[in-house]
Symmetry: C2
Subunit: 195 residues, 2 copies
């Protein structure tokens, strides 16, 4: 998505070769006009997939998932980090390691909202090591549901997570895919998902 690459170049900040800040429009402050464009693009990419449910994990992916869900007229569920009093009854749970925060956390979703008959589109803001997305894939598998694929706003391809998931046959669509980056600039690439 050319608009995402342009937005990153115009408003993102490369902090180091691993860290890109996009707080200005994506994950601290949300540019809602641009959010609608993101939703349109995700809807276009997965329009013929008969998705029945969108799943994300709190909290940076929620706005994108909600916008895509409104555009596609599909319910959104979000996996909670750690079991709270707001998720009761039977759940599916996985342990995910966060490189950003250097800890492990549980991702929890109620069995009431993820069913074997669902066809699920995963959505998140960033794809780097792929641990969070891998956790969501496992939740889909635990439920016996079908995985349609994943849409992420920004993939840091050099961190390998996207390619690992693609190697397992999972369709991963990143609206901007970063090959490498440093203080001098960002090199984008494109990925052939074979679709």
């Amino acid at each position: 998505m050319r608009a995402m690459e342009e937005k990153i170049c115009a408003e993102g900040t490369v902090i180091s070769k691993d860290i890109l800040k996009v707080g200005n429009f994506l994950n601290q402050q949300i540019d809602t006009v641009f959010l609608a464009e993101i939703a349109d693009e995700i809807a276009r990419l997965f329009e013929n997939e008969n998705i029945t449910k969108i799943m994300t994990i709190e909290s940076s992916g929620i706005a994108i998932a909600a916008a895509a869900g409104m555009k596609m007229v599909i319910p959104v569920i979000f996996a909670k980090k750690n079991k709270s009093s707001n998720v009761d009854g039977a759940t599916y749970q996985v342990t995910i390691h966060s490189f950003t925060h250097g800890n492990d956390y549980q991702a929890v979703v109620s069995r009431d909202y993820l069913k074997p008959e669902d066809k699920v589109l995963l959505i998140d803001d960033f794809l780097a090591s792929g641990n969070a997305l891998e956790g969501l894939v496992q939740l889909v598998e635990m439920a016996g549901a079908t995985l349609a694929g994943a849409a992420v706003a920004i993939e840091k391809k050099f961190q390998g997570g996207g390619d690992e998931l693609r190697a397992r046959g999972i369709r991963i669509e990143s609206l901007a895919c970063i090959e490498s980056m440093d203080e001098d600039g960002i090199v984008f690439t494109t990925v052939n998902n074979g679709v």
Copy 2:
């Protein structure tokens, strides 16, 4: 908002006189058709207020804030719970006590995204004791910004937070306002915000 009351009656579950579960459509699974209706109503309520920014706190309010922000064409910012590596630079911070979880947490927002010239609409899913919303009000005050008011999907009026904030002259709009509830049913009420 009659539709919110009807939705709560049709799909919500009263667990006790204090706890209402709406995971089916609002905070675990999101009914995105209904979410668009919520956004329309919030936009209608605050349409003449010249809002420049919507603020919520992660994570249950994000979908509602994002939907309202798209409808109103206003950027959304979300206060993070606890300072993470994703919020760097100068911040505003407040300590909020959670009755739900029985602990204290920090709500943090970057100074880059909340400015003295902003007129801010606060959005959240629930208003009960009012602690979370009170924290957001303090963040607005710290920034020297103007508070337009708050919109919440569901107010549990008997827990007092909404009335405390109204007594201070803050406009609080709840799309459904619960006077009391138990296993036999829910009594809704309306609140005159004087506007």
